[in-house]
């Protein structure tokens, strides 16, 4: 199982989002605290497609539905980039977390 540190994943995701944000004419700073929906204007299909590209980037699959389902339990149905990074890191480095029942 490939081990990737959290800082590398954060750099990957921030790099990706900053690259894309130029096309959205988004001028704000993108940081771990940035919300995908409230700040970047994501729609649900954007989350679906972003998860596909992240899986392609890391050449593996992550249980994104589980993550998104957890959002449904929250008062604010949104996710910060930092949480996304935590999620990827957790599943990149934890075999058990990678194979949920």
């Amino acid at each position: 199982m490939t081990s990737v540190d959290q800082e590398s994943i954060l750099a990957d995701v921030l790099g990706l989002m900053n690259r894309l944000a130029r096309d959205w004419e988004y001028s704000g700073e993108i940081s771990p605290e940035t919300f995908l929906f409230a700040d970047l204007g994501f729609e649900s299909i954007d989350a679906v497609v972003l998860s596909s590209f992240i899986q392609e980037h890391y050449h593996r699959q992550f249980p994104f539905p589980q993550l998104l389902a957890e959002l449904g339990q929250r008062e604010v149905k949104d996710i910060r980039i930092g949480e996304l990074v935590d999620f990827i890191h957790g599943h990149m480095n934890n075999t058990d977390a990678d194979q949920p029942s």
């Binding site: 990706l16 690259r19 894309l20 096309d23 959205w24 929906f37 970047l40 204007g41 994501f42 729609e43 649900s44 299909i45 954007d46 989350a47 679906v48 497609v49 972003l50 998860s51 596909s52 590209f53 899986q55 392609e56 050449h59 699959q61 249980p63 994104f64 539905p65 589980q66 998104l68 389902a69 957890e70 959002l71 449904g72 149905k77 194979q99 949920p100």
Partner: protein, 530 residues
């Protein structure tokens, strides 16, 4: 380098509409091109739907083999229901652009569905059906986005998919202004795709250049009654005349694009134009899940209310998914696009004889559904999955697929009645699409016998001078070519296709529950479900 073959996709195009438009002088170039080439009806897949049909064009394989049956993949398992949006990773067969690239040629493929995430080729890939915010990531090579961004009129929101603009496609035009906006949007969108393909053909022409114009389908769904002479009123209102004129403007633009692209490619280029399916009118709504409910196959959870007839968006579809009492449901139609019924695991996992018996009972009951007004059967054909989807992915397909008498799509919503007339006729997919070819070695002024959509890929490979892999399911449309040319350059059938890369194919198709994402659950999580 020159373009050897130009493959032009016209999503949903049908001779039912194109012939009258040519007669009216709206598409003079197409009329002239057909007169100098070959035309034929092109039989689509079952069901005649964009994702499986274009995937068959792209791969030369049928849905049971390429693994795409709908916009969504649904699984009805003992431990739950899974539904998610399909993408390129669900296509388990090699595309023609990959075959071309592998044999040392270059290819451009623009706006085809299920080509994202992109599988690298020698050439250019700009996938269709990609949300505009992520279009950059879908481009191959990576710097393609920055190149097209410089083109006149570039607007990513309109070029790609923006759900705020696509709302009409889902919910229907709600007022008169929506019709005009919808047509203008698609004129602008097609201009962008035209600018991109023209740019690439000029700057770096590839031997295979393929582009899909998908506005025809999106228009015809909503403006069919203005396009089909059989539906257009004999005494139209000024507004009806205006909408028809706008529709004709759209087709004039398409005609202009065809003329420019074929002219730019030059006289030595073979041009193949195809649609994924045809179109016709639907005048009734068949509420399939309501019929299943009334006949004891499906139980809605408490609180499920009938929906406004004819309306179905993602939010509604998501909500309905969670309004089924799955413990008391043995058959369900999950999507409004596939006309498919999935049997519960208790049926599909039981002994084969019991499964076949229960499926047959349901099939025969559906065959007896009649229109109370006329006594005529509502369903003209029901396919079992063995009939419609033979191949290695058959078990992922619906257990039964319905062909309605007016080719309409079923509604999956609850309703007070099973069969309700539509307020106005709307466009629906018809199995008969179009095939048009022209260029060197191609016969002139011929109407060929009907072809199958699996014949497109072998025919395109032949025009490129490449062998046809043995595992393609169709054949070269030899009747479209001069006999002398066929004798001088006979069809070569040899070799096999190569499966897509492991991540793009086998991983996505493995039966991992976590990989089988629940898009509905996502929508609920994100507040789309009330």
């Amino acid at each position: 380098m020159t373009v050897r073959t130009l493959l032009i996709g016209l999503d949903g195009a049908t001779f039912t509409i194109l012939d009258p438009l040519m007669e009216e002088g709206v598409m003079p170039f197409l009329e002239q091109f057909i007169a100098g080439g070959v035309r034929a009806t092109l039989h689509s897949v079952v069901p005649p739907l964009t994702p499986p049909a274009w995937t068959t064009v792209m791969t030369g394989r049928s849905p049971g083999n390429h693994g795409v049956f709908d916009f969504f993949r649904f699984e009805f398992k003992r431990d739950g229901r899974y539904i998610r949006v399909v993408d390129a990773r669900d296509v388990s067969c090699e595309t023609i652009w990959s075959m071309v690239s592998r044999q040392g040629l270059k290819a451009t493929a623009l706006n085809f569905p299920l080509t994202s995430p992109p599988v690298p080729i020698s050439g250019y890939l700009l996938p269709g059906w990609v949300p505009w915010r992520h279009l950059r990531l879908a481009c191959h090579p990576a710097d393609l986005y920055d190149k097209i961004k410089q083109l006149p009129g570039f607007d990513a929101r309109e070029l790609a998919m923006d759900m705020s603009l696509e709302g009409n496609a889902i919910e229907g035009c709600q007022n008169k202004e929506d019709y005009e906006d919808w047509i203008h949007l698609h004129i602008r969108r097609e201009r962008q795709w035209f600018e991109i393909v023209r740019h690439l053909m000029t700057e770096d022409p590839c031997q295979l250049t393929a582009v899909l114009f998908d506005g025809i389908d999106k228009l015809q769904h909503f403006v069919w009654r203005f396009l089909d002479p059989a539906c257009f009123p004999s005494s139209p209102s000024p507004w009806e005349r205006k909408i028809r004129a706008l529709c004709w403007d759209y087709f004039r633009e398409i005609d202009h694009f065809l003329e420019e692209l074929i002219g730019l490619a030059g006289p030595e280029t073979h041009t193949v134009m195809v649609s994924d399916h045809g179109f016709s009118a639907t005048e009734q709504i068949f509420y399939l899940n309501t019929w299943l409910e009334q006949n004891g196959y499906l139980t809605w959870a408490d609180g499920a209310e009938p929906e406004q007839p004819g309306k179905l968006g993602l939010e509604t579809m998501a909500r309905r998914f969670y309004e089924v009492d799955w413990d008391r449901t043995s058959a369900y139609s999950p999507t409004p696009s596939g006309n498919g019924i999935y049997l519960s695991p208790d049926d599909s996992d039981c002994a084969p004889d019991d499964y076949l018996s229960s499926r047959q009972q349901l099939l025969e009951a559906l065959e007896r559904v009649t229109d109370p007004a006329t006594g005529e059967p509502v369903i003209k054909r029901i396919w079992t999955r063995e009939e419609a989807f033979p191949g290695k992915h058959m078990t992922l397909a619906p257990d039964l697929t319905l062909g309605l008498r007016d080719n309409g799509f079923v509604s999956i919503l609850p309703s007070d009645e099973v069969l309700i007339p539509r307020v106005e006729p709307t466009g629906t997919h018809h199995p008969d699409g179009i095939f048009i070819a022209g260029g060197p070695d191609i016969r002139q002024g011929i109407t060929a016998p009907a072809l199958s959509i699996v014949d497109v890929a072998p025919t395109v490979l032949y025009t490129l001078g490449l062998p046809v892999p043995e595992d393609l399911e169709g054949r070269v449309a030899a009747e479209a070519f001069d006999r002398a040319s066929l004798e001088a350059r006979p069809v070569r059938v040899e070799g096999l296709t190569q499966p897509p890369s492991p991540l793009s194919g086998s991983t996505a198709n493995s039966a991992n529950e976590e990989d089988e994402a629940e898009v509905m659950q996502r929508l609920r999580a994100l507040g789309y479900v009330e």
